[in-house]
C-alpha cells in the first residue's frame, strides 16, 4: 500500500522538480540553498502527501517549497544576500535544455532578465515566478503565498513596472505609472 503511494508520488510530484527548483532558486538566489530547500520540501511533501487531494499538484508543491524557503531564510538570515546575488550571475548554466520559445532570445538577454528579477523584493520575485514562469492564476498564487487576491494583483502590477523600468522596456510607463 505504501508502495503504491510512493509510486503515485514519484509519478505526480517528482516530475515537478524543475518547477520546485526554479521557485527555490529565485527565492534563495543561491543554487546550493535552493537545492537544500527543494530536498527538504520534497520530504515534507511526501510526509504530507495524504493532504493532497488530486488536481494540479503544482500549487500544492510550490506552497511547500515556498514555506521551506522562508523557513530556511529565517534560519540563515539574509547576510549572504548580496554575495549570493553576485554568484548567481555566473550560476546560469542550463539554458541549453530550454530551447523552446526561449531560443528566440540570446542567452545574455535571459541572464539580464533573471538578474532584473532577482533584484526585486522577495514578494515581487515570487509573484513573477508563479505568474510568468509557472502560469498560475491569481487564485492559485493567492493560495500558494497565503495572501488575498487583491494583494497578488497589486504586487504583480508593481513588479512588472519595476522590471519594465529596470530593463528599459517602457518609456511612457515611468511618467504615467504610480
Amino acid at each position: 500500500m505504501s508502495d503504491s503511494a510512493l509510486e503515485s508520488f514519484e509519478r505526480i510530484v517528482v516530475p515537478l522538480l524543475d518547477d520546485a527548483y526554479t521557485l527555490a532558486r529565485h527565492l534563495m538566489r543561491d543554487e546550493h540553498d535552493a537545492q537544500d530547500v527543494v530536498q527538504e520540501a520534497y520530504l515534507r511533501a511526501w510526509r504530507h502527501y495524504g493532504s493532497f487531494h488530486g488536481g494540479d499538484a503544482r500549487p500544492w508543491l510550490l506552497a511547500i517549497v515556498r514555506n521551506c524557503g522562508y523557513t530556511w531564510r529565517r534560519g540563515t538570515r539574509v547576510q549572504r544576500e548580496s554575495v549570493a546575488y553576485v554568484e548567481d550571475e555566473h550560476g546560469i548554466g542550463d539554458e541549453s535544455h530550454h530551447a523552446t520559445d526561449a531560443a528566440a532570445l540570446a542567452a545574455s538577454d535571459r541572464a539580464e532578465l533573471r538578474d532584473a528579477l532577482d533584484q526585486l523584493p522577495l514578494e515581487h520575485r515570487e509573484a513573477i515566478v508563479l505568474r510568468e514562469i509557472e502560469g498560475l492564476s491569481y487564485k492559485e498564487i493567492a493560495a500558494v503565498t497565503g495572501t488575498p487576491i487583491g494583494t497578488v494583483m497589486s504586487r504583480l502590477s508593481r513588479a512588472r513596472q519595476r522590471l519594465q523600468e529596470t530593463l528599459g522596456l517602457g518609456a511612457r510607463a515611468k511618467e504615467g505609472g504610480r
Binding site: 505504501s2 510512493l6 508520488f9 514519484e10 517528482v14 522538480l17 524543475d18 518547477d19 520546485a20 527548483y21 526554479t22 532558486r25 543554487e31 546550493h32 537545492q35 537544500d36 527543494v38 530536498q39 520534497y42 511526501w46 510526509r47 548554466g93 542550463d94 539554458e95 541549453s96 535544455h97 530550454h98 520559445d101 526561449a102 528566440a104 532570445l105 538577454d109 535571459r110 532578465l113 533573471r114 528579477l117 513573477i128 515566478v129 505568474r131 510568468e132 514562469i133 491569481y138 487576491i149 494583483m153 497589486s154 504583480l156 502590477s157 512588472r160 513596472q161 522590471l163 519594465q164 530593463l167 522596456l169 517602457g170 518609456a171 511612457r172 510607463a173 504615467g176 505609472g177 504610480r178
Partner: protein, 257 residues
Amino acid sequence: MNCAQTRELLSGYIDGELPPDQAMELSEHLTTCAECAGIYEELLATVRTLREGLVKYRAPDLLRARVRSALREEERPVVARPTPRVRRGLRVPWRSLAAAAILVVASSGITFVATRDRPSAESSIGEEVLTSHIRSLMPAHLTDVASNDQHNVKPWFNGRLDFSPSVPRLEDAGFPLLGGRLDYVRGRPVAVVVYGRRQHVINVFTWPTDASGDAARTLTTSHGYNLLHWRSGGVERWVVSDLNAAELRQFGMLLER
C-alpha cells in the same frame, strides 16, 4: 473609469483576472485615451518579454538523485536499515556531507583496502582517484560540462587535454551520461566522464599511459566504494562509484565495447 484607476488595473486586465464589468469599463477607456492605450501596449510587450525570456531552471541531476534517494530512505522501515554510509549521508544537508567527506579524506588519508594484492603504486593512484570521486560529489564539483549528450561532452575536452576520452552513449543500458570535467591525478590533467545509475554517480577517469602492456580488470573496494581499473591500448581507466560491484563490472564491459 479615470486614467489613474485604469493604470492600476492594467496588469490584472492583461491577465484576464478582472471581473467582467470592470474589464469592459477598462477596455472602453482604452479606446478613448491614447496615453493609457500606449501604456497598455508597452506593458503587454513587457509581459510577453518576461514570459518568453524567463525560463525554468533545470534541476541539477544530483538534486534529482538526492531527492529520489531521500524518498527511498524515508520509505524504508525504521528498524533494520542496512544502508551503506554514504547513502544515508544523502539525507543530511549536502554541505555537512561534503565536510564529512573532506574529513574522511583529509584525516585518514584513506586506508586502502584492496581485495587483492596490487603493487603499492597502483593502490596509491586508486586513493587519489577515490579522493577525487568523493570531492566530485560536493555541490558544483561533479561536472565542468553538464550534458547528457556525448556530442557536447566529447568536444568539450578538445584543447583542454592532449588526448580525447571516449564518451559512449550508454543511456539505453540504464547509465545516462551526466557530463564531464577535468581533474588531476598524479599531477597530470585527466579526463573524467560522469555517468549515473539510479541515484548513484559513476566517475570514469581516463588518461594515456607510457606503461607497457595491458592490465586486466581488477575490482577493489574502499570505504564502501568500488573501484574498477584496467589498462588497454595505452590508456589507463579507473571507474569509481558506490554502485554495487556486479553492475559496475557490467558498466565496465559496456564502456569498452
